[in-house]
Symmetry: C2
Subunit: 233 residues, 2 copies
Amino acid sequence: MKIKRRSLPAGRRAIVLLSGGLDSAVTLYIAKSAGFNCSCLTFDYGQRHRREIKNAKELARKSNCSLEIINIKLPWKGSALFGKNIRVSKHLRIKEVKDSIPSTYVPARNTIFLSFALSYAEASNANAIFIGAHAQDYSGYPDCREKFLSAFKKVMNTGTVLGREIRLIAPVLKMNKAKIIKLGAKLGVPFEHTWSCYSQGKVPCGKCESCNFRDKGFKEAGLIDPAFLKINK
Amino acid sequence: MKIKRRSLPAGRRAIVLLSGGLDSAVTLYIAKSAGFNCSCLTFDYGQRHRREIKNAKELARKSNCSLEIINIKLPWKGSALFGKNIRVSKHLRIKEVKDSIPSTYVPARNTIFLSFALSYAEASNANAIFIGAHAQDYSGYPDCREKFLSAFKKVMNTGTVLGREIRLIAPVLKMNKAKIIKLGAKLGVPFEHTWSCYSQGKVPCGKCESCNFRDKGFKEAGLIDPAFLKINK
């Protein structure tokens, strides 16, 4: 699912899932650079790191794209996976599940996000959906894997009239963080407006798993993270 | 996807998509009769026939099941299919689309509903999702077809950790309306609490496409529709 410019449909209209994080911001700029007229979609689902919604707004404004914010109230919030009575299929031992699924996992989150994107795409005659799913760092999320995205493509094909016309593109899926950052820098992504931290502070905590991934990525890319500069002020 | 009692997983917990309409009510009673402890899920998405939400509540109360109501505000509402600039893939001629897709079609509606059901199922450790999709009368809805439901099954398998443990069951998919009504009557479905009409009145209009389907179904089943009795009062 690596992006291939020559194989992209004629850049017309794209729905871009924009979380306000780094991966989706780079994804938006990839879509723009491929000539798509982008409409962004973000979700307020009671996430702990709601700060990222503000960043999604800033990123949409900076990139001159529209943004729709969908409010979702999930009455069930957490996952049974972290309850006491864990029941998993035989092919996944409990230890594996506990080890591989981060505690930030929200059941079927990407399925929900993509289903809204699909509705938006069909209603607005878009011919692509861009998602910043990223398999490497967050390999624990089942709904970031290529086989999940391939399955969702089939849903797009069969569940809508325009299905076959709408492409699902995950351009950063197989890139590592450093590569995503390098590409983002080249495309002019305003990293200072992206938010990766799981906490709610005014500046990133610099300690959580997500901050660590980001920090490592910038170091490997040989670049300075403008968002982290604030920590050192 | 016809229901086979012997092939159902041990009746534990099921999420049932309950619209308040006839098909989903019968589906709920099928799930209950198969021994499932049912949690119902309905959606307030600004539908014209919002009266059905009240009916979903009554049906859940009558059947002694819990009900979650999810509020969804789709900023894009209509479908591009009904706009002036219709663009459809080559394999579907415009006339075919206009003829086969009812004007009540909401883009990707069942994909959205099923994605919430999937999240609920995983979060609450359910082992089945029941949907009252019905291919025959509403063959125009792409997201009521068997191939769409099969594709969504794949999403369930790949997009969640518990995926392979959660089954998607559409017990009335291939039944005609009369058969659904007969089965519902046998299972004690309180038809007076189901709503099929597209209008918002206190009683069904008796004139719309949905009322006509229902009326025809009851006549073919040789039964009297308690909801329609009110019209004749």
